[in-house]
Amino acid sequence: MTAWTADRPIVKCTDVRKSYGPFEVLKGISFSVRKGEVVCIIGPSGSGKSTLIRCINALVPITSGTIHVEGIDVGDPKLDKLALRRKVGMVFQQYNLFPHKTALQNVMMAPIHVLRQEKKAVEERSRALLAKVRLAGKEDSYPGELSGGQQQRVAIARSLAMRPDVMLFDEVTAALDPETVKEVLVTIRELAEEGMTCILVTHEMGFAREVADHIYFTDHGVIVEHGPPATFFTEARDERTQRFLSQVL
């Protein structure tokens, strides 16, 4: 593999397939994301969206096809998963914070123990990150003492503390109360505006329309249709896309 350069796609999936036993979840997915792009993947439940983004940081091994992240072959059996995951941050639907650690400790843990960075510098940066996601003053709260929206923002800060090149968001607002969804979306939008490469699986159509550079619609393990939001929402041609959009918009 030649060295990756910023003019080439930062994430490139080619004919990705994934089966669980006889059940094929992903049936040949190809797409690529350029540095600084924001991509939204939408589609009905069970269409393989979450599986797809879990494949990108090798949480789920793919059955065939290739995925490259900054030139790293994710399907390589000798893949250094840790090196890959230092480049790719991930935020989950259920936040998955470490309940025995405070918000600040949650953010600081990975840089200290994984990247072996100096504690003082990490703490300074972590406090700044918590302030950035508007959680200044909550540093010493435990996850159980925070609302869903606050926990999710801690989770975003925790991921950012690793200084990833790509951020994956797996339905990060799906478990939140309607009134706290907004505070999380604001955080993600700011990230996108700063030029962070983001891949989002989401049901927030309004948000996708506003923030995404490109939208992919998946159904039954294939990409049915894709395009920039301006045309995607108004000129959807496929009948399945039209039906889905008429249900959610």
């Binding site: 998955n96 025995h100 990975a110 123990h113 994984v114």
Partner: protein, 281 residues
């Protein structure tokens, strides 16, 4: 269910009966504890009444020997504490072996756990007593192994296997999303285990661990069979020294029973209390 479910409603699932059960059990337990003490005192007084004019009276005998018997009891506690310490350290290692992602380690750990969990404690005790030499010479240094140390090792083995099971169960009971989150942050498996998973398990492991401890304490009397001078051995000797009077039998062993009860019962109460607190918290 005919009325509509709001978000706060529980779905009609079969709830564990334990919540209410343990509460009632707890109250019953406290009551029966008092009852048992009263019963013991009664037993002793009846025995002493039966003893009648024969001197010295039962209570005097117990009072006379209590310091010696209590020294024996302290020895039981020492053995139980050391066995628990050793068994917990070994059990943590064995438990991690059960969770290893390397099949040979997992299989060997599994076999060891099953052997030591499913053997009678007394058999394990005999094995250690007769298989371990009374001293080992290493680098010209003689390290003696007195009987009570061997007994301690004998008790540590079943503790090890039971602690291993507790560790495995606690780790398995954590949601897999914790592993996923740690993985996504590029933690290694070992880091995840020691920094994220195990610290969260301590709370879950405490009640079953204390339960094991109270079982070990009560089992330490088995050491009397292999000649360790713990409380039961001393009780038998005291009985013999008092001429083996039959009316002394119940009071003397009753005293041993009382000592163990007063030690283990609060541990069990505390365990139940912790279980309930962790369940709701």
């Amino acid at each position: 269910m005919t009325r509509p479910l709001d978000s706060g409603d529980r779905l009609p699932v079969l709830l564990p009966l334990r919540l209410h059960g343990s509460e009632r059990h707890h109250r019953l337990g406290a009551g029966s504890g008092v009852l048992l003490c009263v019963g013991l005192v009664l037993l002793v007084s009846i025995a002493s009444a039966q003893a009648g004019r024969v001197t010295p009276s039962v209570l005097q005998v117990i009072a006379k020997w209590a310091p010696l018997l209590l020294t024996g009891f302290a020895f039981n506690i020492l053995i139980s504490a050391l066995a628990m310490l050793l068994g917990t350290i070994l059990g943590l290692g064995l438990g991690l072996g059960l969770l290893s992602d390397w099949p040979p380690v997992r299989q060997v750990s599994w076999a060891l756990t099953q052997i030591f969990r499913n053997a009678p404690w007394l058999v394990l005790l005999f094995f250690v007593m007769f298989l371990v030499p009374f001293q080992i010479t290493m680098f010209g240094l003689r390290i003696p192994f007195p009987d009570w140390i061997k007994a301690t090792v004998g008790f540590a083995l079943p503790v090890m296997a039971n602690v291993a099971e507790v560790v495995r169960g606690a780790v398995r009971s954590l949601p897999s999303t914790q592993w996923e989150a740690a993985e996504a942050l590029a933690f290694t498996r070992r880091q995840t285990m020691w920094r994220i998973i195990l610290p969260q398990c301590v709370k879950r492991m405490l009640p079953p661990w204390m339960n094991i401890y109270s079982l070990v304490t009560m089992s330490t009397v088995l050491a009397s069979i292999v000649g360790v001078s713990e409380m039961l051995t001393l009780t038998a000797q005291v009985h013999a020294a008092e001429g083996g009077r039959p009316e002394l039998f119940a009071p003397l062993y009753g005293f041993a029973l009382l000592c163990f009860f007063l030690y283990c019962y609060p541990i069990n109460l505390w365990t139940t209390h912790l279980e309930r607190r962790f369940q709701t918290g």
